[in-house]
Amino acid sequence: MAVSRARDGDLDAYEVIVARYTAAAHRTALLFGAGDDAEDVVQESFVKAYRALGRFRVGEPFQPWLLRIVVNETHNLTRSRSRRGRLAAQLATLRPDRAEPADPELNAVSRERREALLEAVAALPDKERQVVTCRYLLELSEAETAQVLGWPAGSVKSRLSRALSRLQTPLAARLGEAAGGER
């Protein structure tokens, strides 16, 4: 509804869409490494999305369509700079919250495990990290992940499997450590 009105040039309707999807766009930009430029990426993405609305098919989910633009904008921004080290540092700033754990059962051991898992995700090869970010950290479906990353569904599945195997090994090691630490 809001999308089809915005397509007809209704900026009031588009403002509703911007308000509605800003949080998801901002998280996506941060997780893909936009860092301090996340706000600029979000702004740029909404401007580009508006100009491209003619290509959006009304009735389809808007969010994955928008997030594809956000991911591309983030890549445009980060392509030129040395990203590897920065990305890990940026992901580290999103470390699980110590002050206000969302889960009351989250004890020190599981918090450490989550921080170690975050490091392991940051260290994954680019494409595997991207697919893990979409599928689990942003909790998109496999089909949405394929749309956001612009990959065939088969690539999403195979890269997810590889990434999960890679992450499973350090996880098992950490589980061992955690059990040892409690003794």
């Binding site: 999807y21 969010q63 195997s165």
Partner: protein, 267 residues
């Protein structure tokens, strides 16, 4: 790698995503609008030949004062919204707070509104394992009579029947309903108001009080409006504790609703 190992890693990754600490999202509405004003209606084809526009530099917000800044922004938004007369332009009449979108205006409601998507009753303990946030229970209302989880754990609802110390029950026998959800992601409910929102405070944090019947509709995970869920809501208090948004609805007067809100266990 066995299926069990895979599920375990998947579970840990989802849990990780839910505990990441994201900075508050920026409000880019005015900047986006300023850049789009005067453009022809979108065609989809012209976008390809437009040059990359210069990014508008944004002032960086100071980190340590974030909490205060957020509180001030909330209060300012409430004040602006309350001052907007009904029927004003849609853009002026949009307010987003605590995962709820407030609009000026009215929508038709369904004669038999549908429950939230996949709404299922279960015990409070079972619900605690189904939602990705901590369920908060106000002591002032006693034990909820029914607990439901909707949309694969996106919303938990505590439903209270008639009992002493609770407001008068409605025709369906519901005295109070408390919906809880992660208020930091996409909005979950949209409310249509004829008047404004009254700015109140719960334990020092800003909260919104909506008096009088108003239409409420569920926004699904894709942000799509679920018309079949549109119904008329009673007086409602909306506030946030950590990342959890709470929406308390019933035949409460404001001070009674605030008393219930203050009785939410914080530890």
């Amino acid at each position: 790698m066995t299926d069990r190992d895979r599920r375990e890693v998947e579970g840990e990754l989802r849990a990780l995503g839910r505990t990441l600490r994201f900075p508050a999202e920026p409000d880019v509405r005015a900047a986006v609008r300023a850049r789009l004003a005067g453009e022809p209606r979108p065609t989809g084809r012209s976008a390809r030949i437009l040059a990359w526009p210069a990014r508008i530099p944004q002032p960086r917000r100071p980190g340590p004062r974030r909490r205060l800044a957020v509180a001030v922004a909330v209060l300012t938004a409430l004040a602006v919204f309350a001052a907007t007369p009904p029927g004003q332009a849609a853009a002026a009449g949009l307010l987003r707070l605590f995962g709820v979108e407030f609009r000026q205006g009215s929508i038709p409601v369904e004669p038999k509104p549908a429950p939230l998507p996949g709404e299922t009753a279960m015990s409070l303990d079972a619900a605690r394992h189904r939602v990705p946030f901590r369920i908060l229970v106000p002591r002032a209302l006693g034990t909820p009579d029914v607990v439901t989880v909707s949309d694969s754990g996106r919303v938990v609802s505590l439903i209270y029947g008639a009992a002493p110390g609770r407001p008068k029950a409605d025709a369906a026998g519901v005295a109070a309903r408390l919906d809880e959800f992660d208020g930091t992601m996409n909005p979950v409910f949209q409310k249509f108001l004829q008047g404004g929102v009254e700015e109140v405070s719960v334990n020092g944090s800003p909260a919104a009080w909506v008096r009088g019947p108003h239409e409420v509709v569920y926004l699904d995970r894709q942000g799509e409006f679920r018309q079949q869920s549109a119904r008329l809501a009673a007086n409602t208090l909306i506030w946030q504790v950590g990342n959890v948004s709470l929406r308390l609805e019933g035949a409460f007067e404001r001070d009674d609703a605030l008393r219930v809100a203050r009785s939410v266990a914080s530890g």
